[in-house]
């Protein structure tokens, strides 16, 4: 039975998931609130703009609700949520490719919620955010996803392999190549990564 203040009763995620699976709506809402920020962060980084990130986040949260009855607890709930979020983002990117784009795609819809100050650091902050967004947007989607999951979400190789349903060796290779390209874009290294030694054939 669910009391009106049910969310306060759940201290462990497992119990909250079980309650949500049993139809406890407050528990479900609590679960979504706990994970919406990480889902949105993944989506914002992978899609590269606020509008697509918001759409992908909405799709992901709907998919979480729909898929909850099938969640078997073998993976962490957060890993499962990352998997759904990543797939929603990749779907969103595929839809975006089918739409004509207006303006500069990598900055379309981008809003910079920076502190309201006018100090000298403001320009640097703006430049840095645009640099990072642009550098990430330059990465191929496969590389971008693994870099985001590894370096922002702190997932290990095995978890990323599970999220993306690819072998761990592929994860390792994509992370290395994604990071290399990211560094090239950010640092302005003129040496293309193709000229650098790699262990891939």
């Amino acid at each position: 039975m669910t009391s009106p203040d049910a969310p306060a009763q759940y201290t462990e995620e497992g119990a909250r998931v079980a309650a949500a699976q049993a139809g406890d709506r407050p528990a479900l809402e609590h679960l979504l609130r706990d994970h919406q920020a990480q889902v949105y962060a993944v989506c914002r980084r992978i899609t590269g703009n606020d509008t697509d990130a918001l759409d992908a986040t909405q799709e992901a949260l709907i998919a979480v609700v729909r898929g909850l009855p099938t969640f078997d607890g073998r993976a962490k709930f957060s890993t499962w949520a990352y998997r759904i979020a990543t797939n929603s983002c990749l779907d969103e990117l595929r839809r975006r490719r089918r739409r004509p784009l207006v303006g500069l795609p990598e900055f379309e819809g981008t809003t910079l919620d920076l502190p309201d100050n006018h100090g000298p650091a403001l320009a640097d902050q703006v430049a840095n955010r645009l640099d990072v967004s642009a550098a990430l947007a330059e990465l191929p989607e496969d590389f971008r996803a693994v870099v985001v999951l590894r370096d922002l979400c702190q997932l290990d190789y095995a978890e990323i392999a599970e999220v993306l349903d690819i072998p761990a060796g592929t994860v390792r290779s994509r992370i290395a190549r994604g990071r290399a390209q990211l560094a090239d874009h950010l640092v302005g290294n003129q040496t293309g990564s193709s000229e650098r030694p790699t262990s891939r054939p």
Partner: protein
């Protein structure tokens, strides 16, 4: 004589960054000035990435996202039906259309009217049982006569009536903003809606299926976003957290019924 080891690759350096490199590899990187410089560049790149956190969504947006995610459930979570693919019409509909086409084709041959051309066949097909049922949806009154379809590549059918022409927008954001406060109740003068009942009802059925909405839309609109035709539906959905009805607005591409955006007002 042993061959000298190759310089550390980006994959080797990435392993060092993740703490997965053995002592031998770490020593090789330390001994190679170029590898050390490259490692520093990779570290700097990751530091930039990590020092640029994603701005969290505001509370109101989070509330909307969660309410929208939960609202289709309308009951026990565990009893939710599996999600339906938005790209594929139901198999029964495909089967019905195929059977209707076959029946009509046989009828034309039998009556000696097979020389009347593909246009007749197409028009007749659109009036077949399943399609006609969709076209005659009571929520959207039909136009009195068949009118030409104005969307290239779209399904044919009667031009929709009862659909508000919302205008042309450069981006989906602009359309979303225009609908933020209310749904227009009438089209600007002399603006014909370039969409058919069949298209309206096909996408409406998919949206209702995906969002688990049984109610008919209160408003239906048509817009053009960056030259792409879009259908917009406003459903009188209820809020999860309260009893106040919270309209749900869903915009989809006319040709694929793929979602353009969804929000609750």
């Amino acid at each position: 004589m042993n061959d000298p080891l190759p310089p550390p690759s980006d994959e080797d350096l990435s392993a060092v960054l993740d703490g997965e490199a053995g002592l031998g590899l770490i020593a090789r990187v330390e001994a190679d000035p170029r590898a050390r410089a490259r490692l520093t560049a990779l570290r700097d790149a990751l530091a930039s990435l990590r020092s640029d956190p994603v701005t969290p969504l505001d509370q109101k947006t989070v509330d909307h996202l969660i309410a929208t995610a939960i609202s289709p459930a309308q009951g026990e979570v565990s009893s939710l039906p599996p999600r339906v693919s938005r790209q594929t019409p139901p198999s029964w509909l495909i089967a019905a259309v195929v059977l209707a086409c076959m029946a009509i084709g046989l009828g034309l041959v039998w009556s000696g009217r097979s020389n009347s051309g593909s246009a007749t066949l197409t028009a007749a097909t659109q009036k077949s049982s399943s399609s006609a049922a969709l076209e005659n949806d009571a929520s959207l009154p039909s136009a009195p006569h068949d009118l030409p379809t104005t969307i290239p590549g779209a399904l044919g059918g009667r031009q929709a009536s009862g659909v508000i022409e919302l205008g042309a927008f450069a981006t989906s954001d602009a359309l979303r903003v225009s609908l933020k406060e209310r749904f227009p109740t009438e089209s600007p003068a002399a603006n014909a809606v370039a969409v058919t009942n069949l298209q309206v009802n096909r996408c409406q059925a998919q949206v209702q299926n995906i969002l688990d909405i049984t109610a008919a839309p209160a408003h239906v609109g048509h817009a053009v976003v960056a030259r792409d035709p879009v259908l917009v539906y406003e459903f009188p959905a209820s809020s999860v957290t309260g009893s106040t009805p919270v309209p749900l607005v869903a915009a989809v591409a006319v040709d694929t019924c793929a979602q353009v955006f969804t929000f609750q007002r």
